[in-house]
């Protein structure tokens, strides 16, 4: 069980200067946190089991519940008893496991990111979960959980400390990432002589939450879809159990509700539906704002001086907090997304393209005004790549999009014709207006989408970035470092070849692992790839 060199000291020594090669344990509260998280996964089967056993005899039910709790507590003790870690001058080592003892070793100069994550339970106990990202595809090293102090110290040791003199001279101002800030920032680059402990706490704040951004929360249709889906699933699952008749006094019989004919209820619906819609909108607005506050509370994006070059740290959250630190050299670009409603309100989303994180496409900010997104984007990208002038893709994509819009409208309209004809033939109701309405609305929407898709298409090559924009109602603009391009794919379907277009994919390890340049004239595509990565492509061009 316990390793021979682990001294029988309390799990977290109170004095900070721990000898670096001493094995350390997880926080004592781990013994509480991990049974709770185990139980939370098992709560429904446990409840069912205890309830089922309790049907026969309440005492047995109680015993089953207590037994399961004891087992969970014992299982929860195992990580605390068996996991130890230490930071040597060159490596982070973690030993864990009861029967299968594993030792994870990560070279400190390969550590790319540190993620501190605390749920409500963690926070109540003053502990936090630490995830260390090292390579590209290898999983993260998790330590659940450390005390706040040891987590902060570990993060500093992994990303910021210069534990040995040899590592100290490795921090040069001319490092890979220090070119990023250049004109915009001077304090962090000059700060390599400052002691690591003080630097870690006061970096340069790049962005902070502005409470006026909360107006975008109700406009986020993606969240609305998730909320509606959850609500529908909830009522779908429990509608049988909800005692409608007792609580609401509703009884539905054949064609009658509580003995009154349904027609009279239809009149009431004319009043009830608008009221319901207004109330739902109000509840949605309030609920999404509350969700926004809980999620993004105290957001800060801070640039700090790390072991090699600068790091970016993003921290936020009210009930569960999260602090993610990633080496800026591992940030390969950024994406700004403008959704349909949010775009009308002047907002946009900003995500990073990184490697070495659990989520390689992290949001830097909540939805924020476009000016903020471009300012922060410029700061992180190191140049004004987002507002670079884009080259359009000419008239050929437009022809294709309009043609597709016409086909789409035709298909949708003929689909709408089917029920109309069926009702007209088998009933006496002729819903002539249905296909006409579908035709008109579909036509307008499809053509608008096609035209927008054509207008949004574009690309540019700045000093260090490939910038691509595409999308119809949702516009996505991606800036990817040409350094981060690790391959190209040029695809031409039969119709592409007839139109002289190509679908180009820039492969990358960051973000979603590829960036697409859709419907680009093939000669432009080849020229673009050659200009972006001349060493790789030029020998294959004629």
């Amino acid at each position: 069980m316990s390793t021979p060199e682990t001294p029988p000291t309390p799990p977290t020594p109170p004095q900070p200067p721990v000898p670096e090669d001493e094995w350390q344990r997880l926080a004592g509260w781990t013994a509480v946190v991990s049974p709770i998280s185990t139980l939370r996964q098992a709560v429904i089967p446990v409840a069912v089991g205890a309830f089922g056993a309790g049907q026969a005899n309440p005492l047995i039910g109680l015993l089953v519940a207590v037994g399961i709790a004891v087992v969970a507590a014992v299982i929860g003790l195992i990580p605390w008893l068996t996991t130890t870690y230490r930071v040597t001058p060159t490596h982070l080592e973690v030993r864990k496991g009861l029967l299968n003892r594993t030792t994870l070793t990560a070279r400190l100069d390969r550590v790319r990111s540190v993620d501190l994550n605390s749920t409500l339970v963690h926070r109540a106990l003053g502990v936090t979960k630490v995830s260390v990202g090292t390579g590209v595809d290898e999983g993260q090293i998790n330590l659940d959980s450390l005390t706040k102090e040891s987590a902060a110290r570990l993060r500093r040791e992994l990303l910021h400390a210069t534990p040995s003199p040899s590592a100290a001279e490795a921090v040069e101002p001319g490092g890979e990432a220090s070119g990023d800030e250049g004109s915009t920032e001077s304090t962090a680059t000059g700060g390599s002589e400052v002691s690591p402990a003080s630097v870690a706490d006061d970096g340069e704040v790049i962005a902070k939450l502005d409470w006026s951004w909360i107006k975008y929360a109700p406009l986020n249709l993606k969240n609305l879809a998730i909320a509606l889906g959850g609500l529908a699933a909830f009522f779908g699952a429990f509608s049988e159990l909800i005692p409608w008749e007792q609580t609401l006094g509703l009884r539905v019989d054949d064609g009658e509700i509580n003995g009154r004919p349904i027609e009279s209820f239809l009149d009431m619906l004319l009043i009830a539906i608008p009221i319901a819609v207004v109330v739902a909108v109000l509840v949605w607005a309030a609920g999404s704002c509350v969700g926004y506050v809980v999620r993004w509370w105290d957001l800060q994006v801070v640039r700090e001086q790390g072991r090699e070059g600068t790091t970016l740290r993003r921290s936020f959250g009210l009930t569960s907090t999260r602090a993610t630190t990633v080496e800026e050299a591992k940030v390969r670009g950024a994406t700004s997304t403008v959704g349909p409603l949010i775009g009308l309100a002047g907002g946009a989303d900003l995500n990073l393209l990184t490697t070495g994180l659990d989520d390689n496409f992290p949001a830097v900010l909540p939805t924020a005004p476009e000016s903020v997104v471009s300012t922060v984007g410029r700061d992180i990208l190191g140049e004004d790549a987002f507002s670079a002038e884009l080259t359009g893709h000419g008239p050929r994509p437009r022809r294709r999009y309009w043609f597709r819009a016409l086909i789409g409208t035709a298909i949708v309209t003929s689909l709408a014709l089917v029920p109309t004809v069926l009702i007209g033939v088998y009933g006496d109701l002729w819903l002539w207006w249905l296909p006409v309405a579908v035709l008109v609305i579909g036509f307008v929407l499809e053509l608008l989408g096609a035209e927008l898709a054509h207008r949004h298409l574009g690309h540019a090559l700045t000093e260090r970035y490939l910038v691509v924009r595409s999308g119809s109602f949702t516009t996505v603009r991606t800036a990817l470092q040409t350094e981060g391009i690790i391959g190209w794919r040029v695809k031409q379907t039969y119709f592409d070849r007839r139109l002289g277009l190509a679908q180009v994919t820039a492969m990358t390890a960051a973000g979603r692992e590829y960036v697409e340049v859709p419907d680009v004239p093939v000669e432009t595509a080849v020229a673009l790839a050659t200009a972006a990565t001349p060493r790789t492509v030029s020998e294959f061009v004629e």
């Binding site: 590209v136 595809d137 591992k330 490697t355 002038e389 080259t391 540019a460 090559l461 981060g484 690790i486 391959g487 190209w488 794919r489 040029v490 695809k491 031409q492 379907t493 039969y494 592409d496 070849r497 994919t505 492969m507 990358t508 390890a509 960051a510 692992e513 590829y514 093939v522 000669e523 432009t524 080849v526 020229a527 673009l528 790839a529 050659t530 200009a531 990565t533 060493r535 790789t536 492509v537 020998e539 294959f540 061009v541 004629e542």
Partner: protein, 172 residues
């Protein structure tokens, strides 16, 4: 910016795949065609034996599709494929072109290659063929040079491994 002065395109990679590749593709399609033919016979028997209804013509349509669809694969498609499939490995990059209706060009710099491996199925072994697979740190960046001569494939793997080992930079 960077508008081209004259229209430029990617040139054909230098080498063709093995001359036995079309036979292999034809054989693969033929095996598939046998299965489809079996399904077609089953469907035809069903159509004959069951009382005919408005759906009978649908069954016959399916039968016709199942008989006709594999025909291109066993006749002219393998030779078209052979003309299109090309590959080239330079000191700097791998360039592969493949496809029939959809033509795909893939270029990966060797400095970003993470693993090189080769595969050979039972049927490929019979034809003396082997596929070389090059992968990068991107899940979108797996490039295959399919249907090389067995010996040549192993040579290419050895060359790729030697070149990638000589470029020690971080492959992301």
């Amino acid at each position: 910016m960077n508008a081209p002065d004259a229209p430029r395109r990617l040139r054909e990679p230098a080498h063709q795949v093995s001359e036995r590749a079309p036979a292999y593709w034809r054989m693969t399609s033929a095996i598939g065609a046998v299965f489809w033919l079996a399904f077609a016979i089953g469907a035809a028997v069903t159509a004959v034996l069951t009382p005919s209804g408005w759906w009978t013509w649908l069954i016959w349509l399916a039968v016709a599709l199942m008989v006709l669809a594999p025909i291109p694969g066993v006749t002219f498609v393998p030779s078209v494929r052979f003309r299109i499939h090309r590959w080239e490995v330079t000191e700097i990059a791998v360039h592969v072109r493949h496809g029939w209706l959809t033509v795909v060009d893939e270029i990966v710099p060797l400095s970003r290659v993470q693993t090189v491996d080769s595969t050979q199925g039972p049927l490929m072994r019979h034809f003396g063929l082997r596929t070389v697979k090059v992968s990068t740190a991107s899940s979108a960046g797996i490039v295959e040079i399919s249907c090389l001569d067995d010996a040549l494939a192993l040579e290419v793997v050895a060359k790729l491994v030697a070149i990638t080992a000589a470029t020690p930079e971080d492959a992301t």
